[in-house]
Point group: D4
Chain length 213, copies 8
């Protein structure tokens, strides 16, 4: 009766970053800017760390929407980059879908701006074609919480699984023993509270000499 547990798999996941453009980012008001920027960069870092195939797409970079966040360009120099000539729903652009199909993967992990359009439209289209779809909710932003809630509701009703970047990282990693240092670095870079835990721990273990000493 309920959705089965579709678990993210390192061999099946592909990350789609949709329209994180400098102009469009000014529309994001449901998540505070420092946190939102951190969350988007966390997704980029986890994609690189886990070597998950990543596809970038934008809409009219030359116009008011502005260029893709430079950090994303720099992080994925070799990733497929689909500059859509006009399609609002990225799924309507054959090149975008082709890039996804070229990976041979079935789990689409999407983040984008704005949530109810740039995330929800391709998410719903992909579900309709049989893909498993996961939205990274905290790396997707929109006008206000009411709009976000409506977008989440529509996506969830269609079968999209709502996740966050931390949950995605943990579900892909599965076991700390796989690479304790790597995961710890990722978390430390994007979760200030975790960074603090590690700082205190390292100091007590002698790794960080106290300045007072």
């Amino acid at each position: 009766m309920s959705k089965p547990y579709s678990r993210l798999d390192l061999d099946q996941a592909v990350i789609l970053l949709v329209d994180h453009q400098a102009g469009l980012l000014s529309l994001v008001r449901d998540i505070e800017p420092d946190k939102f920027r951190n969350n988007v960069l966390a997704v980029a870092d986890l994609a690189a760390y886990f070597r998950v195939p990543t596809i970038l797409t934008t809409s009219f970079e030359e116009g008011p929407n502005g260029p893709l966040m430079p950090e994303l360009k720099a992080k994925f120099p070799d990733a497929p980059f689909i500059a859509r000539p006009g399609q609002i729903n990225a799924w309507d652009h054959a090149d975008f879908v082709a890039a996804i199909r070229a990976t041979g993967r079935r789990q689409l992990v999407i983040a984008g701006v704005v949530t109810e359009v740039c995330v929800a439209f391709p998410a719903l289209s992909a579900i309709a074609e049989g893909f498993e779809v996961f939205a990274i909710t905290d790396a997707s932003g929109t006008f206000d919480p009411l709009v976000r809630d409506a977008a989440w509701n529509r996506m969830s009703a269609a079968g999209v699984q709502l996740m966050t970047w931390f949950a995605v990282a943990c579900e892909l990693h599965r076991d700390w023993r796989r690479d304790v240092e790597g995961l710890a670095s990722l978390l430390s870079a994007h979760i200030p509270d975790y960074r603090n835990l590690m700082t205190s721990y390292a100091a007590l273990k002698g790794a960080i000499p106290s300045r007072a000493a």
Copy 2:
């Protein structure tokens, strides 16, 4: 297992504006008035822009509920206007349903005041008769967020798709190339942040000479 993606179609959509009356608007306290007024006018503008058939209905304009927002009257001079003699659920009024059926369309896009009654009741009735129903959540208002949440829950559970005016506009437009100027004007008129992007862009492109020059 989950709802299929029912995508808005310019040939199937009809917009229903229910009871946006001057008196009833004073009951709306789940959305701030400047934003709510803007959202309702945005729906009117998008309906006109996309030439989506639009049906207006009111309840007791002569009484405390007050007249329909004059801007809506002015925007749709030729649209069917159904002044209900007493039915709370607009679907209980044969004229209202007849006006909808006369369009031959199957996708009902509803906004109204208040959400849990004037939107939810006809939405639920229409679902029961096989229509696809989309609520424009941000152009529908009610007493407080708790009431809104209950209304959304009931509608969503019945199969109503929760949308916003921006998502409706984007899903109808589909491709910027259809009319870049038109969509940009619509967005600029109702999204201050987008208007700012366009202002800065135009200035840099030379369209708006700097006053300082």
Copy 3:
């Protein structure tokens, strides 16, 4: 695939007021006290106005939970009153279920304190026995919004329809022509914004002479 529209019917509805006791009311912190008290009294008034059979039940009035709100006792002097000797879930008390079955009705409209126990438990039990169940969310209260959200989620997932007192009143009334004065009085007594509309309207119509005159 989705829940059909189960519409409240004056011949099928029975209202259940569960544990609105003076002591337990101090536990309610997800709705502000003035509003919560108003909502509960609105349910009482609508039950009386529509002559919907109403059943009262309490838990340990003699102890810290305190007596039922005196206004409810006064409003329903002849209603079945079930003082449960210990059952937390009112449905576990045969007298309570018997009182419901004695009405021959199938639509249970429940409000109570606290939401996740006194409302959710009998609501879930009644669903399991084939009743249609409607929770009056704004006349039900609990410890905080997080607890309320969990309670709503559990009830909704089980098929309970989430409503509010205003939606219940409107769905029962259906057509203003049934009794304009009666419904208007009910709304005026419990919706300050609507009362203001009526005051201004009446003054302009000459019913309330201006003090200044």
Copy 4:
């Protein structure tokens, strides 16, 4: 260096109710309507209970601002009522100031709608003429919390004391022994939590027989 304690005195206080009109009340969005209505009626009840001279004033009752709340009219049939012909700051109307001076009192206790104009303007004017001024903050309302904060700041900087209806009642009453029943009734009528305490207490003391008995 700081303001001395200017304590409300039953022989010096006069209550000024400014523009609590049905139309203007729809502008109040910094306090929820059920609570605001309750607070205003509490001020009326305490004014009557303590027999504090009370002066009513309105602005254009015949126009969109609407009539004074009928409950206030009914509560103070013999109080000075000043229908201002146009002055926004009530202090600019000689009749209003004359009515105040006629009481011979020096402590002005003001509530009104909207806070930053109808309360703040006369409050500042009265301070400038040497009166002690107390604003009943929770029976005064305005557009949103930001506007309220600005209004409070301006008034406080000028020497207005910010109070609430409950603090006013307690400062006037001073000693429960003066009239236990009277104060308790006032509190019970307007503080649901206190009403609950009294209900439970009375039941345990035998005053309210349990329905279950």
Copy 5:
């Protein structure tokens, strides 16, 4: 001991609009964009309506800060416009101060972006030179409420009076009889709730024929 009531005077006020530029507006996150844009335009309209001398200033329009809101340029074609070559505090620019002194007025009414810099700095400088300073808090915006609170605190401690556009308009107008139509139009254009009151009132008075008729 407390600040005297310094009342705005039509012959002494000058309005200063500081850095309402398209780029900088994207930094404003303590007030929702629809409301903020409305508030800024309300200040422009009241300045024009009351014919209060108005001075515009900007910082680097040609750069990322972007051009002044085009509506402000259009509204004040003949007003002094000071494009600062680099001074962050507008008061550090001799032309800006000269433009103020040229008006011969002593009451500076300032709004700007962002509050703690573009408003607070010239406000504090002007106070230090003996001007009376009024901040239009709701037409000034900044990063978040915490930053706003700190800015208000610093300004208020220095003697700046915190106001809002509506309070400024009312304090300048003083008496409705001065021009009922004019003030009503201003309020109707920028306070949706007031517009609704006027719509209902006009309809009842026969000015707006009901569509249903």
Copy 6:
């Protein structure tokens, strides 16, 4: 069509406490610390009171995650304690699942830190293997409300029932007559409002002599 009422049963429930470690607790920011600590200890107390089998598990106690809350260690000295060597999803650790299966019970009641990982992952895994799963939402914490909402949505969609510690206690207890003193003590220890009710009640019944006497 909807989930059947799966009611907690004293003979079927097993409580799983996942990663309530001193370091990880600093990550919890969706519930205020005093309340969260109280909720976790309430779960521990109810587990002990109802003698529900309880299983503890932790992740890297020796590292930055820190040791399990000492109160939990002290409360369950004989409970199975599974220190996972690296598995993020506790269900991936055979010992953990074995400990659950060893109880022979089918209703898993889970609380943990953080919600979207340490609770959601084993919850989803357990659902997939046919267990009934209940999340104790208010004894589970995470980074912020947005992350919590996404986690709840994913769990609920998969069939997890969202509960709270109070609902769990009431559903297990079922009838006050089972042990009035025991349940009252549990509630008094963890619900300050309920404790107050009991204090007042006891005083009036003579159990607590007034200090004033």
Copy 7:
């Protein structure tokens, strides 16, 4: 021009606990109950720890206001306890003032319920008589944040210093070397986040053997 730094002194401070009674506590809705209870108990613990003279007072313990929190009675068996026969402002009761004067101390540190009456009234009276007054804001509660803000404003304007229990403890302690263990225990008992730090620290230092070991 501004208030001088009046620093709490172990030889000058006296703590006044006003009306923390079981019934009145149900009125406190500006601070969540778990946190408020914790804060009040923290004040009691710090008073005992620092051996600061403490005076308790109540109003009508035998009536609906209910008995003083039993924990406070138990903590201060020998402290002056003033059961006021009716005075709302404790300062109006000669015994209360006499108890304060008997200590010979000049720094009054007050907490109570409700803030705008039971704290503000004696605070203002004491200031007027030349005492230094400090309000423990987080161990004082009232109806809602608006009421609290008004109360704080009135007290602050009169010269009351607004503090919190943690600031009081730190200002009295002054130097950790005075008693590291003692202060750490106090903080650990009432600040969950600090308790977690100590738990992790102790574990790493070997004081708390890991369960896993």
Copy 8:
């Protein structure tokens, strides 16, 4: 009557960073962690950029309070670092005051954790000794907003000026022409919205070639 404008001066300012230690940071809950971390690093960057003398102090780095944020240690390798042996108020430590006096500067700009103790105590002490004191409110954190408000109130009443890191940077810089690149880099590094403006601007100016090109 009001505080004169004390403007930050590059030759008079000294920045004091008090107790930004990894353990204590977990106590900060009035500002979201991503934003707080960003604000603290912004202060460090502006101190370095403007070459303002900076003094670091900590309390018990070896204990649960944890080490100073490593980024601060790295940023100021040659700054005075005062590890206090036990004084809670840094001003009570002669070395700390001596380090300040050694700079010969009179404007103390303080940030720290927690606000009401580590910032407020030395701020009040410094005011008492004739320094000008500025609190960087957004780089200072504490338990919750109520505690913050009390701390701000106490500091402001004593004459502390409440600022933010952005206001400090702008007041020190004074004129963009001093170093456009430098200030822009500082803002871009710590204000995501400003970074976006610069990204879009640079792209339009040709500095950042569009990826799509």
